[in-house]
Symmetry: C2
Subunit: 326 residues, 2 copies
């Protein structure tokens, strides 16, 4: 069932089988989008958008709302759960945005949405949308070091878990990272699961990709950027890695444009990428750790490192402080 | 299929149906644990431990290894994937520990383990174990404020996502939190999914529970502890909450024994618990945020807050610093 294998990590796309199904349906003169909503079938998803190619099912209130606001995706249909808490607040905004853009709205029952989303938390809202793809990093634009000494780009090498990637994007957006670049090789795609885990931050962030990460790092080094890798534990087994200084994130001073490079959940940075770093940032543990527990979850580590850096931004925090320590 | 519904978040226990199955098998004189390993069936899990009651399936290298080291669980059988990379390193330690404790070792094929673990990442290792349950917090022991001004207990109110809970436990262990106490009401159990997400930290940490969180906070306040809640955004709609000072975690000074109280993923702290806090810690954003993006993932927020506090520990970091900032 192509739809049901859609949301686990890879992007769902209309398969040849489904395309043939819709084609046959059309030849029979049926209108698969026109039946009663209570009879909505999984196979009938998005026939109107079929001719335009690939679609996927975005789910969750915040991803759908931010996708509509950002207007980066083509939206075929909005699916709002029937009978769910009226049309207040965000739901009303969803309906308004759909009306303005002429997006058809369906009202399937909860069970239908549960099945479509493989029982992930959809909060009563789904949208059939075109996939969101990262752009090549050469479109990221150049920030000249002289312009702003506190540029921060986050580079992700081979992050594979969509929930980790989503949480990292959410943190990067919240804490003020300027751009995110992923290695195309071995990295998780920008799927609906990532968008949900990012609370929709994926819909509004600038995410780029590169096919040659080490080359990017070397080019930015030439331009005067600091390339800071990350390390859970020192890894003397990687040739050359022992020559790269390791700095606690507590001691890091952010005084030049910086690329922060995070590695894969299991294996960390590749030797080639690590060798392109000028220093390695670490988070020091608060106790003696047994083997197997010497590292943090990658999205937690990203949050701590980004917070350590971003809190040095001039003018940070931007929000008014209320109250103070007792 | 009780086994297959086991690992999604709730603890798997042998159902009446399975109990009858094993009972009938025994009456027929069959030895369900004695067949060829290539014929191991899902229904045949842990017959030897049936008489002792409830079991669950722990999975992943680190959870199993740390569970064996900690020796808190009863272990019925160790399941090591057949043909997987010999018996080096951690796998050799698993086998040694099983031999010392007289734990039977099975060698199922990968497909069997995949099915048992619902295709979660088991790394070729599973164990049938008794559940790990938190103890009542009254067994946590008293740390008198005069003894150590830098005690830190982490209090979790209603964390429901097992992966969030696991990542929080992993961070708490890594960063040096002394004890963790969960509210029994509405909180995720200490399931195998939590253990895996914690990289096994759940197996070695002290985790306690309470049925009356507000009462606990008030009692500790009376004993001279600081009770610090957490807040994503100020919530003036909660009566009395506007009177509680909000402090950026960057400005927090850790100079007395402290309880850090984290709330539920969706709704944060309950009004009753928030009203029992002496101050609220916040993580300030690095940019203007649209509605829906004003908060971080709870495990990321926990990591940042714990790191802000624990890095103030005297003698922190314990590890030798290598290198320094370029």
């Amino acid at each position: 069932m192509p739809l049901l294998s859609a949301l686990g990590g890879a992007t769902w796309r209309l398969s040849g089988h489904l395309a043939r199904h819709f084609s046959q349906t059309a030849r029979r003169g049926e209108r698969p989008g026109g039946e009663e909503l209570s009879r909505l079938r999984l196979d009938d998803l998005a026939p109107t958008a079929l001719s335009a190619g690939r679609l996927e099912l975005l789910f969750g209130l915040s991803p759908c709302l931010l996708a509509l606001r950002a207007a980066r995706r083509r939206v075929a249909r909005l699916l709002l759960q029937a009978g769910k808490s009226g049309v207040q607040g965000e739901r009303a905004e969803l309906l308004r945005a759909a009306e303005v853009r002429g997006i058809p709205v369906l009202r399937p029952r909860r069970q239908k949405l549960d099945a479509l989303c493989r029982h992930q938390v959809h909060q009563g809202v789904c949208m059939e949308v075109s996939p969101l793809r990262p752009r090549p990093w050469t479109e990221a634009g150049e920030a000249k070091p002289g312009d702003d000494p506190q540029q921060l780009w986050l580079i992700l090498e081979g992050l594979q878990d969509p929930r980790n990637l989503g949480a990292v994007l959410r943190s990067a957006y919240f804490l003020g990272v300027d751009k995110v670049i992923t290695s195309r090789r071995n990295s998780c795609l920008l799927t609906p699961v990532v968008s949900k885990a990012s609370a929709g931050a994926m819909e509004v962030m600038d995410v780029f990709f590169t096919d040659h990460l080490a080359g990017l790092l070397q080019a930015k080094t030439q331009q005067g950027w600091l390339v800071a890798g990350t390390v859970g534990c020192p890894r003397p087994e990687i040739p050359g890695s022992s020559e790269i200084p390791i700095t606690s994130c507590l001691e890091f001073l952010w005084d030049q444009p910086t690329l922060l490079v995070l590695g894969n959940e299991g294996s960390g940075l590749s030797p080639e990428v690590q060798a392109s770093c000028q220093l390695l940032l670490s988070i020091l543990p608060g106790r003696q750790l047994p083997p197997g527990l010497e590292s943090l979850n990658v999205s937690v580590a990203a949050g701590i490192l980004l917070h350590s850096i971003c809190s040095q931004r001039k003018g940070f925090p931007e929000e008014k402080k209320r109250g103070q320590h007792l």
